[in-house]
């Protein structure tokens, strides 16, 4: 499936905006991604392996944090994963 990489993280995917990986679940696909691009891992996960709080990962239009099976959710070849850091602020 295709994983869309946001602009700040493309420095760790050789500049690739979209990476195609195999995987039967969301977690599998993310493992394939960080296996192929190890430097990406620390920007997605904390030291104890949790997704960083400001990193959102969407399976098509669904935040994987709120899917019942979370990253064990089955995924098809035609699905798309999007990594999207949060945008917020204020004075």
């Amino acid at each position: 499936m295709n994983i869309h990489i946001p602009t700040p993280l493309r420095a760790y995917t050789g500049g690739e905006p979209t990476v195609s990986v195999p995987g039967s679940t969301v977690g599998d696909a993310l493992e394939q991604l960080t296996g192929a691009y190890p430097a990406l891992r620390q920007h997605l996960y904390t030291g104890d392996g949790k997704l960083r709080s400001f990193v959102n990962i969407y399976l098509n239009d669904d935040d994987i944090r709120y899917l019942p099976a979370k990253d064990a959710t089955p995924a098809k070849e035609s699905d798309e994963l999007t990594i999207i850091p949060s945008i917020a602020g204020g004075d």
Partner: protein
């Protein structure tokens, strides 16, 4: 360097006036190149911080996913974001910095005083990640078409 067309520049400032006294926010789509971030499209976004609209903004991640999808279709990338500071200087705040995660992107802030857009500044988020990120003052080049130059000259004559 942030390079932005006059119409887009005026549109993001007008957005801040429209939402005053609340903060506005939006996304800059375009092309990142060695000489800077070139804005080609502006996308207004909703502010989900209904608990504190006057001094906080947040763009819903599902809206960002849709905006990123739109950017891909247009052949653009997300190159920056904008928001307003109602009755507050056009400088990044500690909240802006803590919540900034898009290194390489431009963060544009417009101060809106009593409903009128005043100063617009841009800050480039530099670094490789959370540990070494920094905001750097970023020059803004406003690109004007001939018709816009003529219009502005008539307006100031």
């Amino acid at each position: 360097m942030l390079k932005i067309g006059y119409a887009h520049y005026e549109a993001l400032r007008a957005h801040g006036e429209e939402t005053y006294p609340h903060e506005c926010c939006g996304v800059l789509l375009g092309i990142a190149s060695t000489d800077g971030n070139h804005v080609r499209e502006l996308v207004r976004a909703g502010n989900t911080r209904t608990d504190s609209l006057h001094n906080r903004y947040n763009i819903a991640p599902e809206e960002l996913v849709a905006i990123q999808r739109k950017a891909r279709k247009l052949g653009f990338d997300i190159v920056g974001f904008y928001h307003s500071h109602p009755d507050h200087p056009a400088m990044w705040s500690s909240t802006d910095f803590a919540e900034a995660h898009w290194t390489g992107c431009s963060y544009v802030i417009t101060s809106v005083e009593k409903g009128t857009a005043k100063v617009t500044n841009s800050f480039l988020l530099t670094g490789t990640g959370e540990e070494d990120k920094k905001f750097a003052d970023e020059p803004v080049e406003i690109e004007m078409k001939e018709s816009e130059t003529a219009m502005q000259q008539r307006g100031t004559a």
